[in-house]
């Protein structure tokens, strides 16, 4: 018995209307088959129609706002213009969409526009902050003396060709290095402690560290000011500032380090223990190298937070105009503190310096942030190409060594 499809049957020479020969089963043809391949419904795709409607709504919204603005509506200023533009745009868009859609589809499309508008708003706010900072500081930003000179010889009325923020650059680097020297060993060890031990002490330490992320930065400064400077009698200095900044950075490093260490696969730890390694060797040779990229990310995030802190440095180090290389005495400036000091003055030149300092600070943060992204992009234990090559070479050397010991000959 043979099975033929409709087309086969026809091509087999049968004549229409004639009953098929006995013993042949005929499958009816599927009229739609081949014409429309099965396609999943695209949920998140933007069609040309949508784009055109949005574009049309934008154009008509803009022209309507142009007409209405300042004549009929009670709004003024650039902010008013933007608000009115958005309202007319959404109204026109809803109208256009309602011509071709109904009920829930209209709501869906209008809400999609509203959600996108929020994303655009957040992005443009960030852009506005960054661009206006660079723009307002442009006169001071591109002069080499900004980076090479300090403010010891430059009065408030001095032109921008004299004086700079070298003292704040030096201060930021010294304060952050000291803070790193304090926080990295302590923070990483404490994160390991939270991960490797269970018990009441661990839970308590974790609770306290979590609650310390709520500490307002000015209180960290006030604490160091009252203890280190007033009670212990040390002078206000870069060292005091770095301790205050450390108090802010420590909870951040510990908490994100804790999260990162938790991602280290448990079977790696077990494998190491099964090979007879004591706990400290497991941590030192397995856990920490596996979590290296994540740990550096958490340290960098801590630095990015600490480098922008103004209030603790203001309270503990104080304001100075000259470069200071000694962190144990005399005021030491940092970039955010210099920004704060410059813009408190009404002098336009000083304000321009303030914006330039803020722009330099932003560049620092941006570099740190990019570094954290690049390092933290990989999950725990995944190696970069270079690291993988090195690990491979190491394994090869180990193999040679083993074989040499076993056979007495080099393979």
């Amino acid at each position: 018995m043979t099975i033929l499809s409709d087309t086969d049957y026809r091509s087999a020479g049968a004549v229409d209307g004639e009953a098929p020969a006995l013993g042949v089963t005929v499958l009816p043809s599927n009229p739609a088959s081949g014409d429309a391949p099965h396609q999943p419904r695209a949920i998140g795709k933007i069609s040309r129609d949508d784009l055109l409607v949005a574009f049309g709504a934008a154009v008509s919204g803009l022209s309507m706002t142009w007409l209405l603005f300042g004549r009929i509506t009670p709004l003024d200023g650039k902010a008013g213009f933007v608000v009115l533009l958005f309202v007319t745009f959404v109204a026109t868009y809803a109208l256009l969409v309602s011509l071709t859609n109904d009920g829930p589809a209209i709501v869906d499309k209008v809400m999609a526009v509203m959600l996108s508008a929020a994303g655009v708003l957040a992005g443009s706010a960030l852009l506005w902050v960054v661009a206006s900072t660079v723009w307002k500081g442009r006169q001071a930003l591109f002069k080499p003396n900004l980076y090479l000179d300090d403010m010891s010889r430059a009065g408030p009325l001095e032109p921008l060709d004299v004086g700079g923020i070298a003292h704040a650059l030096i201060g930021t680097i010294i304060i952050m290095s000291l803070a790193l020297a304090l926080t990295v060993p302590l923070g990483v060890t404490c994160a390991v402690f939270l991960n490797e031990t269970r018990g009441r002490v661990t839970t308590f330490v974790r609770t306290i560290v979590t609650s310390m992320t709520a500490l307002p930065s000015v209180l960290a400064g006030l604490f160091i000011f009252a203890t280190f400077i007033l009670i212990l009698g040390f002078p206000r200095s870069g060292l005091a500032a770095s301790i205050a900044v450390s108090i802010m950075m420590l909870p951040i490093i510990i908490r994100s380090g804790d999260v990162v260490l938790r991602l280290v696969p448990g079977n790696l730890r077990e494998a190491s223990a099964a090979l007879g390694a004591p706990k400290w060797r497991t941590v030192w040779h397995v856990v920490l190298p596996t979590a290296r990229s994540g740990l550096s990310t958490s340290v960098i995030l801590g630095v990015a937070r600490g480098i922008g802190e103004t209030a603790p440095v203001l309270l503990t180090s104080g304001v100075g105009a000259s470069s200071n290389l000694d962190p144990t005495k005399n005021p030491m400036m940092s970039l955010p503190l210099a920004t704060y000091e410059f813009v408190r003055s009404p002098q336009p030149a000083l304000v321009a310096r303030g914006f330039a300092t803020a722009a330099v600070l932003m560049i620092f943060v941006l570099v740190l942030f990019t570094l954290a992204r690049v390092l933290g992009g990989r999950p725990a234990g995944r190696l970069s190409k270079h690291q993988a090559r090195r690990a491979e070479a190491r394994s090869k050397r180990d193999l040679e060594r083993f074989e040499l010991r076993l056979n007495g000959v080099k393979s």
Binding site: P74, G119, L126, T210, V218, L222, A226, T310
Partner: protein, 341 residues
């Protein structure tokens, strides 16, 4: 057949459970040093962190003993005469934080939904990086932008609000005459509203990243179920994402509130301090606990410092409560997403 298999007699005839072998690990010297070191580091961190709180509490005793409970009802701040309290300062602090959260909440909620549901896939990681970068911008930069760039535009909004909605007590501004087009705009500058707008920029990314984290954990089965029942994307968000992420939304909002309460330098750069609280939020002048500390600590006597410490302690207690409630909400939410402040 000369070999027979015999089963050994069961030794457990008396139904005794087998005793578990006790594994006794004898930690070596290295391990003992290591765990000692870990414990010490944990205790050092614990000591530092509790020292901050304890020290604030101890140092604020003299001031609190002098005023008693009137510390929380007095508005003035003159520690040298013994008349001081945080009523006005706390009022301003809370209103700035509430304004900031009120502005940031819709934007962060919509942005997090935009990132997880609406934005094309190739754009998502860029948007996440953008939000993280917003959180990393130092607050002094936001303060500078707020005071020197944004304020002019915000004053326009303030004037519009007080002209058209002035009958609502919050938007009323004494000294502003809507009928006089030449009336000075300085009555609107340095207000709680403008400080709140700037602080909202700092709060928004924190809230947004918590909410995004929660929304990205919505079970795909439930999303697809909603779509399979014919739901639109917004319908799916309304019935699946938002109820699922409710704990994260509340927790993230409160985390942002905690940050807004403690914000220092941006507020200092914008406000002009005053000590008479009013609900007219658009009016010139405002204050906050951290701004008070930052502006007053340098010329403070011992007793003044104790008063500032008491104010700081009040603030710390508030942020602590807000943060604990926030993490409780986040931990209790169905997703149980970890909060990363």
């Amino acid at each position: 057949m000369d070999t027979l298999t015999t089963l050994p007699a069961l030794s457990r005839t008396d139904h005794q459970l087998p005793t578990r072998r006790v594994i006794e690990a004898q930690p070596g010297t290295g391990d003992r040093i290591f765990s000692g070191l870990m414990l010490i580091s944990g205790l050092v961190v614990l000591a530092i962190m509790s020292a901050v709180g304890l020290f604030l509490a101890i140092k604020s005793i003299p001031a609190l003993r002098r005023t008693g409970l009137s510390f929380f009802t007095t508005s003035q701040w003159q520690p040298s005469t013994g008349v001081f309290g945080v009523a006005a300062v706390i009022g301003f602090t809370i209103s700035i934080a509430v304004i900031a959260v009120a502005i940031a909440l819709p934007i962060s909620l919509a942005t997090s939904l935009f990132i997880t549901e609406v934005a094309p896939t190739w754009l998502r990681s860029t948007l996440v990086a953008m939000v993280d970068l917003m959180a990393a911008v130092p607050s002094v930069v936001y303060g500078l932008w707020g005071a020197r760039v944004m304020q002019i535009h915000a004053i326009g909004i303030s004037r519009w609000l007080s002209t058209w909605l002035g009958w609502i007590p919050f938007f009323d501004v004494t000294g502003h005459d809507p009928s006089n087009p030449l009336s000075s705009l300085s009555v609107f500058s340095a207000s709680s509203f403008i400080a709140g707008v700037v602080v909202s920029m700092m709060v928004m990314p924190i809230q947004c990243s918590v909410m995004r984290e929660v929304f990205s954990q919505v079970p795909p089965g439930e999303r697809e179920g909603a779509f399979a029942l014919g739901s639109t994307r917004w319908g799916m968000i309304r019935v699946v994402s938002l109820p699922f992420g409710r704990g994260g939304i509340i927790g993230g909002t409160m985390l942002g509130l905690g940050r807004a309460l403690g914000e220092t330098i941006a507020v200092v750069l914008i406000i002009s301090p005053r000590f008479d609280f009013s609900f007219n939020l658009l009016e010139a002048g405002s204050n906050s606990v951290s701004a008070l500390i930052a502006l007053r600590f340098s010329e403070a006597s011992d007793f003044d410092l104790s008063a500032l410490m008491a104010a700081g302690l009040t603030l710390f207690a508030m942020t602590l409560v807000v943060n604990f409630v926030a993490s409780a909400f986040i931990a209790k939410s169905r997703s149980g997403a970890s909060s990363e402040a």
